[in-house]
C-alpha cells in the first residue's frame, strides 16, 4: 500500500545530491539512451526502436558500437530479425570518452549481454582513428568492417544438396542421388557456386528460430521452387519462368526451432531464388537466402489509400515524379492523379491502386513514394502557366508569370477545384471522374477576372507526343481531348491559350 508512494522518494534521493559520476554507466544510460533503447534494453514502445538486449550489434567487438555512438547510424539496420529505419544521432561531440566507455560497458554487461568492458582509452583510440568522419555510419558499412560475431545464422545446421540434370519441374528428391552435399555455415540458401551451368536442382535443409506469431513467408525464383516448414508446403512456384512471381503465405508458428526445407530447380537461362520471412509485428524481412528479392525489400507495412464509393481520397505528401508540394487524388474508378502545387498542374496520371501511405506513416517517413498503380504517365513537369507572348516559339524557362496557388475546394464527392491566381485573373481548375464504359478524368478550367496579359496553359511537356491535332493528342496510354480551345504544339509541348471562356479537358485510358 505504501510502496507506490515510497518508490519515487527513494529513487529521487541519489539524484538529488550525488552528481553523476562519469563511471556510472547505468545512470548515464538512463539519462541519454533509455528513451529510445528502453530502460530494459528491449527498445522503446514495445520494440519500435532497436533493442540492445541480446543484440549482436553491441556485443563482441566493441569497435562497432563505439563507432555508432561516436558518429551515429543512418538508414535501415536489422537487429534480431527486425529492420529499423530511424536515425541514431551522433554522441561523440556531446559525450566524453569515459562516459561513452561507461555506457557501453553497462550495455555490454546488462540484460543478458555478456561482453567485455570498454575502456576510455579504447574510445579515445577509435575517436582518433575516425576523427575525419563527418557522416553517420550505415549498417552495411559497419558490417563490412566489423561483422556480427554472435549472430546466429538465419538457418542453423543448413546443408545443401546439388543434383545435375535437366529438370522442367520439381523432381522427387527422394528418388535422386546428390552429386554434391555441403554444409553451409553462413546459413543462407545460395545456389551461386553451382550456377555456372544450366540444368540442375538443389535442396536445402536446416532449422530456424521464430517467436510465437503468424509470420509471413515469401518465395520468388527462376525457375521453380518450394518452401516447406516443418514438412508442410508453404510456398510454391511450379513452372519454369523468371523471377517476379512472388508467392507469400502467412503461417502461425510456435516459439522455437522449426524445420526448414527449400527445393529448387533451374532449367536454363537466368537464376534467382529468394526466401524470406516477415515476423509478426515486424516491418522488415528476415532473409534465408543470399538473394534478397528486390520488390519485397521495403521496410514498412502497406497502408493502401483507397477512395470510398462516394468520395475521393486525398494525399498531400512527397509523391515520386512530382514536386515536393504534391497533392494526390485517388478517384473512384481507379483513376488517380498527382497535382503539383508548385507547378500548378496535374503532373502524374495513373490507373489502378492510388498510393501506399505506409512509407510516410512508418518511422520518420523518409523519401518519396511512387504511385501504387499502373501506367503512371508523367504529362508535365514545368510551371504550367505562362504569358502567351512568352510561349510562342518555346515554353519559357525562367517564367515571369508568377502565378500563385490559392488552395482548393472539395465538392461533396471530394473532387477538387484548385484556384490559381495571376494578377487579378483567377483560374478555377476542377477535376472529376465520369464513369462509363471508358471512364474519364474530366478537367474544367474556368477563368474569372480581368487578364492583364493573355495567359497560356501547358498541357503536356517532356513526353512522347502521339497523334497531335488541335482537339486531341495521346501521351502513352492517356488520350487527352480538349473542348473550348485549340491545342498548339511548340517543341514537343502541348499548349492551350486561355481565353475568357471555360475549357474542358478529358483524360481517358486506351
Amino acid at each position: 500500500m505504501y510502496m507506490r508512494r515510497l518508490l519515487p522518494v527513494f529513487l529521487s534521493l541519489p539524484l538529488t545530491f550525488a552528481p553523476l559520476s562519469a563511471q556510472d554507466g547505468g545512470q548515464l544510460y538512463t539519462l541519454y539512451c533509455s528513451a529510445c533503447h528502453g530502460a530494459d534494453g528491449n527498445g522503446a514502445t514495445g520494440g519500435q526502436f532497436p533493442p540492445l538486449a541480446k543484440s549482436p550489434w553491441v556485443q563482441g567487438n566493441a569497435e562497432r558500437s563505439i563507432k555508432i555512438v561516436l558518429h551515429g547510424l543512418h538508414g535501415p539496420v536489422e537487429v534480431k530479425g527486425k529492420t529499423y529505419n530511424l536515425e541514431m544521432p551522433p554522441q561523440g561531440a556531446a559525450l566524453p570518452d569515459d562516459q561513452i566507455a561507461a555506457i557501453l560497458t553497462h550495455v555490454r554487461a546488462s540484460w543478458g549481454n555478456k561482453s567485455t568492458p570498454v575502456s576510455a582509452d579504447q574510445v579515445k583510440a577509435t575517436r582518433g582513428a575516425t576523427a575525419a568522419r563527418k557522416e553517420h555510419w550505415t549498417a552495411e558499412e559497419l558490417l563490412k568492417l566489423h561483422p556480427l560475431e554472435n549472430a546466429k545464422p538465419p538457418v542453423e545446421n543448413l546443408i545443401s544438396y546439388y543434383y545435375k540434370g535437366s529438370f522442367q519441374s520439381m523432381p522427387d528428391f527422394s528418388q535422386l542421388k546428390p552429386d554434391a552435399v555441403e554444409e553451409e555455415p553462413m546459413g543462407l540458401v545460395d545456389y551461386s557456386s553451382y550456377a555456372k551451368t544450366d540444368g540442375f536442382a538443389m535442396m536445402w535443409e536446416g532449422k530456424f528460430y521464430t517467436p510465437d506469431g503468424k509470420h509471413e513467408f515469401c518465395l520468388d525464383s527462376d525457375d521453380g521452387a518450394r518452401l516447406l516448414i516443418d514438412g508442410q508446403l508453404v510456398c510454391e512456384i511450379k513452372a519454369i519462368g523468371p523471377a517476379g512471381r512472388l508467392v507469400k503465405k502467412s503461417v502461425a508458428l510456435k516459439k522455437g526451432m522449426h524445420q526448414f526445407r527449400v527445393e529448387y530447380f533451374e532449367f536454363a537461362g537466368e537464376e534467382a531464388l529468394s526466401v524470406g520471412m516477415k515476423q509478426q509485428g515486424s516491418n522488415g524481412i528476415k532473409w534465408f537466402s543470399k538473394d534478397k528479392g528486390s520488390a519485397q525489400s521495403k521496410t514498412w507495412p502497406e497502408i493502401m489509400l483507397t477512395p470510398s464509393a462516394d468520395r475521393a481520397v486525398m494525399y498531400r505528401n512527397f509523391i515520386q515524379g512530382t514536386s515536393a508540394r504534391g497533392i494526390g487524388f485517388g478517384f473512384s474508378g481507379e483513376i488517380n492523379m498527382a497535382y503539383s502545387a508548385d507547378r500548378l498542374a496535374p503532373e502524374l496520371l495513373w490507373t489502378g491502386k492510388f498510393i501506399d501511405a505506409g512509407h510516410h506513416w512508418t518511422d520518420r517517413g523518409v523519401g518519396d513514394e511512387p504511385p501504387a498503380g499502373d501506367d503512371v504517365t508523367r504529362i508535365s513537369n514545368k510551371l504550367a502557366y505562362a504569358f502567351t507572348e512568352e510561349a510562342v516559339t518555346a515554353w519559357p524557362a525562367g517564367n515571369p508569370v508568377a502565378p500563385s496557388f490559392r488552395g482548393y475546394k472539395l465538392d461533396a464527392k471530394g473532387n477538387p477545384t484548385f484556384l490559381v491566381q495571376i494578377g487579378n485573373q483567377r483560374f478555377f481548375d476542377s477535376y472529376a471522374v465520369v464513369a462509363g464504359a471508358t471512364p474519364a478524368l474530366v478537367r474544367t478550367i474556368t477563368p474569372s477576372g480581368e487578364a492583364t496579359k493573355p495567359v497560356s496553359l501547358l498541357l503536356l511537356s517532356e513526353h512522347d507526343l502521339q497523334a497531335p491535332t488541335a482537339q486531341s493528342f495521346q501521351a502513352g496510354k492517356v488520350k487527352v481531348e480538349v473542348e473550348g480551345g485549340a491545342v498548339r504544339y511548340v517543341t514537343g509541348n502541348a499548349i492551350l491559350d486561355l481565353k475568357n471562356s471555360a475549357i474542358t479537358i478529358r483524360y481517358t485510358w486506351q
Partner: protein
Amino acid sequence: MKFFSLYLSTALAAFAAPQQSDFYQRQEIPLPPGEIMEIGSVALLPEQKVAVATRRGDIWICEGAYGDDLGKVTWKKFAQGQHEPFGMFWKDGWLWMTQRPEVSRIKDSDGDGAADTFETICDDWGINGDYHEYAFGTEPDKEGNIWITLCLTGSGGANSDWRGWAVRVTPEGKMIPTCSGIRSPGGMGFNAKGDVFYCDNQGLWNGSSSVKWLKPGSFQGNPTGNKYHTLANLPAPPEPVSGSRVETERAKFPTFVPPAVVLPHGKVGQSPTGIVCDTTKGKFGPWADQLYVAEQCHSQIQRACLEEVNGIYQGAVFHFLEGFEAGLIPLRLDPSGIIFSGGSNRGWASRGSKPFTFERVKWTGKTPFEMLTMFAKPDGFELTFTEPVDAKAAADLANYKMEAWTYILQSSYGSPEVDKTSPKITAATVSADGLKVRLKVDGCVKGHVHHLTLSNIKAASGAEMWHPQAFYTLNEIPAK
C-alpha cells in the same frame, strides 16, 4: 523484527512525499477507436470544442474534452490528406494551420461538418522532399501575424529557401523573414508580453536543447541557413566560430541572442516542443506568466520562469509534470485552466510508451511547495517559494548546492557540459514573511547554466519540496 519496524517508520515519515496527482490531475482523453492519432497540433475552438491535427494529416474535432465525464467525448473527422501540420488555431470561423508546405486556412462552408474550403495563405518557403524540413507555426501575434520556424534540411543542411529561418506570415499571406540561425524547432509560443519563443533541439550548433527568444532581426546560433539573407536583401547573419562559446560569439555579434533558458540535455528533457504561457490568472496554480514547455522524449512538461535583464531574456527551468503516455508535441492552455497536449513517438522514441496520446491536465487546487521563481541579482539569486519556508533550514548554507557549466558552440552534434565551476553560496537570507530567500553567490559565471539543488528545505507547514532543482541560464548579470 526490529529492522522491520525501523523500515516501517521510515516509510511513514516519507508518506508525505509530494505526488503529482496531489496537485495536478492528468487524464487521457479517449480517441476515436481504431484511428492512428499521432497528434501534432491542437487548436481550441468556440463552445469548448478542440481540434487536433495528426502527423498523418487528418483533422478531427472533439466535443466533450472539457467535460467531467470523458466517457462522453465524441469525435468528428473534419479533413484528411494534409501534410504534417504543426501549429493550428481557430480564428473568425476558419481553422488556420501551418503545415509542411504552407499556411492554410480551412472551413466547412456547407455546414455538413467537414471542411470543403482550403485556402493557401502563404507557400513562399522551400521544401524539397526531405522529411526533416518541418514547419512549426504559432497562433497569431498581437499584429495578427503567424510566426513560423523552418527546420533545416535533414536538420543539418539548408537545401531549400529559408531553411534555418523564422518567418512571419501576415493574414494577407505576405512572408517576412525575421530571424536566422535556427536548427531543428519542436514548437513555439508567446510569453505574457507577446514576445515569441521556440524550442530548438540539441544537435549541430546546439550544445543542449533550449528555449530561444525570436527577437526580430536576431541570429539564433546555427549559421547553416545564413545564405538566404540575400533573397530578401537582409544583412548577412553572423558566422560564429565552431568550438567557441555562445557567450564569446555574442560579444562579437550583437544580433546573436543567446538561449533564454537552456534545458540541460538529459537532465531536463531531450526534445522540447510546444510552449504556452500561463495567463490563466491562477487557474492552473500560482505560476503566473511562466512558460510551460512540452517535451517529446521524456514525455514531460517543464516550467520556465523568465526575466529580462539588460534587454535579454533569461531564467530558470524547473521540472514540473511528467508521466504522459507518449512523446508530447503540441501544448495549449485554456483560460479556464486546462492544459491540452497530445503527441506521438513515431520516429523519435519517448518515455511514454504508447505510440500516440491526447491528454488534459487540470489543477486540483492544491499548491505544491516549490520554488516559484528564481531571479538573478548582482551578487547571486533570489528565490521565492509558493509558501513560507522553514526559516531555520532555509538559512542553513549546507542545504544549498550550486554547480555551473556551459556548452561548446560547435558545428558537430551537441556538446558535453564544459567549463564547469562550483559557485559558492555565502549567504542565505530568509525574508520576514518566509516567502523569499536571498542567496549571495561567489563565482557566478556569465553565460553559464547555474544548477541549484536544495536539500532538507521544507515549508514552514512541514510540506516537502516537490522539485528541489533549478537550472538558471545567466546570460546577463543585473547591475542592481
